[in-house]
Every structure is written in structure tokens, then in C-alpha cells.
Amino acid sequence: MAHDTTAKSEFLPKDSPAPAARPGLLWRPTAKTGLMSWLTTVDHKKIGFLYGVFALFFFLVGGVEALLIRAQLMFPNGDVLTAQQYNTMFTMHGTTMIFLAVMPLSAAFFNFIMPLQIGARDVAFPRLNAFSLWTFVAGAIILNIGWFLPADTHGAPDGGWFGYAPLTSKTFIPKHSIDYWVMGLQLLGVASIAASLNFIVTIINMRAPGMTMMRLPVFTWMTLITAFLLILSFPAITIALVELMMDRQFGTNFFEVSGGGMPILWQHLFWVFGHPEVYILILPAMGIVSEILPTFSRKPLYGYPIVVFSGACIGFLGFAVWSHHMFTTGMGAVATAAFSLLTMCIAVPTGVKMFNWIGTLWGGHLMMRTPMMFALGFLWMFMIGGFSGVMHSAAPADAQQQDSYFVIAHFHYVLIGGSIFALLAGIHYWFPLMFGRKVSEFWGKLSFWIIFIGFNVTFFPMHFLGLNGMPRRTFTYDPNLGWNTGNLVATLGAFMLGIGIAIYFAVMIYTYFKGEKVGRDPWDARTLEWSIPNPPPEYNFRVIPTVHARDAFWYEKHHQEEIAKETAEHAKDDEAHGGIHMPDQSIWPLVASVGLLIVGFGVTYFDSNPAPGIHAKLGTTLAGFAVVLVGIYFWSLEGNAGYHIHVDDKGNVLSDDHAKH
């Protein structure tokens, strides 16, 4: 009965004639260590780990940008940065944090944890997964390349993270900075859509036997919903970016007023994406919290079906509220009212989650470990951020708050107090699983408190700043407006937050090398990922588990004999089928992504002026496309045969048939 989860089709006969010989070009890398193993990996755990490393790196980059912002605003009339540098800084801070820190960090967990939670040996399309990763890296490179190029003709993006037309048109920002932003986001979009399609198929199709949809762990459910939001919202920004790019490079009139264009269209297309995007940032966080709270309360999640359903509700409603970012654009009373009310509605399903989390705590045995601390911190901070969201949703109130520091306060509460807190909790929670080591409780809690306090000291005063009329995106302010104290406190808080995060990172790095080793399942957890040894073996499950209940692993722990018998039987079945099927590594996804990087570079770096710029541009772009095509063609030609390994009942690999290839 065991599922051979990586084989594409059961129909390929096991005893088919020896496959056609493999020409040298379709060489299959087999390195398990060293650089090549990382560049060609298709293992969802390695890919997840790489996502995590890149995301945390960019989190630090975005954090340093934030600290520069705060340093500039520490005192009125500050001159740490020039106006242009400041504008670049907040644009890149926002873009980096959202697209290069929080999203890939969520993707890291999707990759690493989700297949383990559903009892799968890999994702549905392992090579596509690698392609997503490398395309993400390509996008990140394009987005940041401007830092290293001359600021007067290139420079890093400086149009704000939502890049409102027509400021981003060639007339107003002629340098290439905006091109990098456009192309970088475009590549990130490709990466996200590809990854999400993969996750959707994986969750729908690769579940272990017995893992019905209503037994899926909540984190997996939120992964699924997030993936849907991604594939359905990114197209809108893709189109907006295409239109902007056409305006900049080919002189079209989408947002060109002199040609009859309406710049307001950009705002609509952007926020059709932008609002679902903020739920893309929070739903994975909610998923993580929904795993941690039950584990440390030693109780199942309260009201599982309704938590799942409300997640789907939030996702769906998220597509119907985008214009609440545009209350001040003069939409007319009816549209304003409609979007105002729809936005309020979202508080209901979100509230439902809140209540159920509290219900989970109620009557539990709460173990105050570090992940639990961060998760509780999430509940508090996200609630406050949600309330200020509801204040925004009342359109007349928002007319005063929009583009003021009140908005900055709102979204940092939901983004840091929400997403980041939960992600930091997730790192603590799954660290033992990923690396077999546990973070010290003392240092974990210390970093939690510094981060928690620093965060509130930074962002709570911003509510008052906003209500006191301080506009956002301002590199300077005068001392007579009553904003001095607030800014000073916020800056001090930001540095405290920085110290907290520095401690957090230092502790993680220390633990990675020297931390206390722990055995399997250190938290007495409830879901399947904890049923395997840590760090997880490449093949994940020696025997694909059979699921009998929600919180499958908890059930296993309480029905050990029954499960042991079942497992032994299935292990025999597996052997009879030729062992554990593993996907082959491949270099072609990387090649295709490098091709995209070259395309991106061609489109952005060179001028579209006639000679010589246009030739360099066309040449580089076409060369890039050629590389992409080669990558994809070879990728499909090499096929996904894979190989089999055999393991003993301790999980040691006895043999693999890799040599055959």
C-alpha cells in the first residue's frame, strides 16, 4: 500500500528495457557534499535550508536599512542620509523585507516542513522546486544590483515599495533604478508562482495514506491557501509591471498622461496584488502559531475546522478589499463605503482564529519554552496590529491616517509582531528537527524579551506620531511639530530591537555548531514531521506513515503497538517494490535561472537608446533567453527517472542503485 511518492507514474513498468543511453550532455550530478551538491540539489530540505539562509541574510540587510532610516529620523533635521539615499533606503527596506525576507522565510518552512507534515518523501516536482529557488536568487540579485552601480544613472530602486505611476515613469525617474525594481519583482514573481504551483500539487496529491484534507496540519493548510493567494494575485502585479516596463522601454501609454493614460490604474493593479500579498505574509505565520500553541499546551488546536475555514475565508475576502489602500484617491462615496465595509468583514474570520488560539491555551498545560513565548508574543502584537487595521478600514478615519506614521505603526505590528514573531518562533520550534540541536532556553528567552520590548518601544510611539500628523516617507522634519520625542524613542527602540535580533542570530549560529544535541521529538509534538529522526534523512520516511487521525504523530505515540505492526508490514511492501525511490539531482534548473538572470540584466542594465545601447540590450536579452531555453529543453530531455535506495530498520542506507546511471 505504500506510496512511491516521487515516481511520476505508476505505469512505467518496473522491468522496462534498459533505458536509452545517456549522452554526456545530460550528465547527472550525484555529489552529496560540496558546492555542487547545493547547486544541483532537488532535496526539498536542502532547498528549504537555502531559502532560509538567503531570507535571513536579506532580513539583516533590510534591518540595516531600517536602522539607517531610524538614524536619520532620530532627531529633527537629521543629515545622516541625503534625501535621495533616504528614498532609496525606505524603498529597498520595504521591498527587501517583504519579498526577500518574509516571503522566502515562509517558503523555507513550506519547503522544509510541509512535505514532512503530509508524510511525503519530496515535493511533486523536485526540479521545479530548485528552479524556484534559483530564480528567487536571480530576482534578488537584480533587485539589489543598483547598490553597486553609479547612483546618478543607475542606483538602487527609489520609487517606494508600491512604485506609484507616474513617478516611476521614465520622465520622472530616468535612471535605471526603477528598471531593476521592475525586473527584480518580475523574476521573484516567476519564482513564487512556480513554487506555489508545486506546493499546491504536493499538498493535494502527495499526502500519505489516510491523510485526508481535514487531517492536514494547520500549517500545511495555510501553506496551501498561501500558495493559492500567490498564484492568483501575482499575475496582477506581473501585468502591472509589464505595462510599466513597456512604458519605460517602448514608449507605450499605459500610465502616460499625455497619451490619455490613467495612472490610477497602476494603483488598482498593484493593490489587487498588494492586499492578498499581506495575507501571503501573515497566513504562514498563523499556520506556524497554530502548530506551536497546541504542542506547548499539549492539547489539540481548538476548533480545527473553523480555523481552517476562516483561513480560506481570509484568503478569499482578501481579494475583495484592495481599494482600502486607495481611500484617498477620490473613488466616490459608494465605492469607498463598499470597500470600507468589506475590509471590516475580514476582522471576523481573523477574530475567529484569535479566539480559537485562546481556546487552545484554555485548560492546557502551557510549557513556556521560547517558541511558545514568541507565539504568545504574536497573539498580543498581531491583535494590536489588527485593531489599528480596523481603524484604517473606517474610511473617514483613514483619510487622516493614510500615508502617515499610523500606517507605519499598523503594518509593522502585523508584519513584525505578526509575521516575523511567528517566523522566529518557527525557527526555534523546528531547529531541533532541522539540525538535531536545541537552542538554549535562557538565551532564547533573553532575545525574545529584548526583541519584544524593543519592538514595542519602536513602533508604539508611531501611532502617536501618525495621529499627530507626521507623514511617512519623509527624510526630514521640523522640530516644532511635536514629533521629536516620538522619533527619538522609536530610534532607541529600533536599536534595542537590533540588539535583540543580533543576539537571536548569534545564538542560532552558536547552536548550529555547538548547541545541545537532542533526540527525536524533543517537544512532545503532535505532527508527523516529528516522527522521523533528526536531522531528517534524505529520504524522510523510512516507511511512509499511515495516518489515522488529526495530529497524526500524537496518535502514533498513543497507539504504539498498532503502528509498529503496520510499519513493519509496509516496510516489507516497500522492499518488494524495489526500495525507496529518490529523484535525481539536476543542474538544468540552475541553468534556466541563470538564463533568466541574464535576461533580467539585459532588459535593465542597457539603454534602449538606438546604437550602441539597443544592440547590447537585445543581444544580452536574447542570449539569456537562449540559455533559458537550453536549460528547459535539457531539463525535459533528461527525464525524471530517479534511483532507489534500501535502508535497514534503523534508517541506515544499505545500498542505492545510483551506479546504474
Binding site: M1, H3, E10, F11, I204, F228, I231, L232, A236, G260, M262, I264, L265, H268, V272, F319, A320, S323, G330, M331, G332, V334, A335
Partner: protein
Amino acid sequence: MSAPAHAVAAHDHDVSKFQIYVQIAMLLAVITGVEIIAVFLPFAKWFLVTGLVVLSTVKFMFVIFYFMHLRWDKPFCTILFFIGLVLAAGTMWALIALFKAEASLPLPV
């Protein structure tokens, strides 16, 4: 896990698929023809617009349910696609409604 052999089961409807496909293609061609002619006829505008929308939807549905086999596939495929379709249609509708509003009239030049 059922072996492939189990699945050889009833496939009788497959025999007639060729005919179905050809018939549907003809139907689609005819509808297209009707559409092309209709726009030049002196009907009321609202009537024609409704008519065109309905006819296009009919074509759309025939293609996805027959050519794209949704009719014979697991219902989940239909659900999956319709999530996207409904959201896209809803968003289009909302966008166009927003731009129809008086507040969105562009400035006279």
C-alpha cells in the same frame, strides 16, 4: 493501491469521443458565425451585449468541459480552475465598475 490492470475497466464512452469532438467543433464554429453576423444586425445594444456574453460563455464552457475533459475528470480539476476563473471574473467586473463611476472620468483635455 490498485494496479493498472484494475483500471482497464469500462471505457465504452471513449469510442464515441471522436464524434463528440467533431460535433462540438462544428457547434463552436456555428456560434462564432452567429456572433459575427449578429453584431451587424440592428438589435438593441443591451440585447447584443448580453447575447455575446452568453454565446461566448457557452463556447468557453464547451471547450473546457469537453476539449479539456473536465466533464470526465475528477471534479477537483473543475473546482481548481473555477477558483481562478471566478476570482478573475470578479476582479475584472469590479475594476470595470470602478472605472465606470463618475469619479473616475478622466479630465477633459
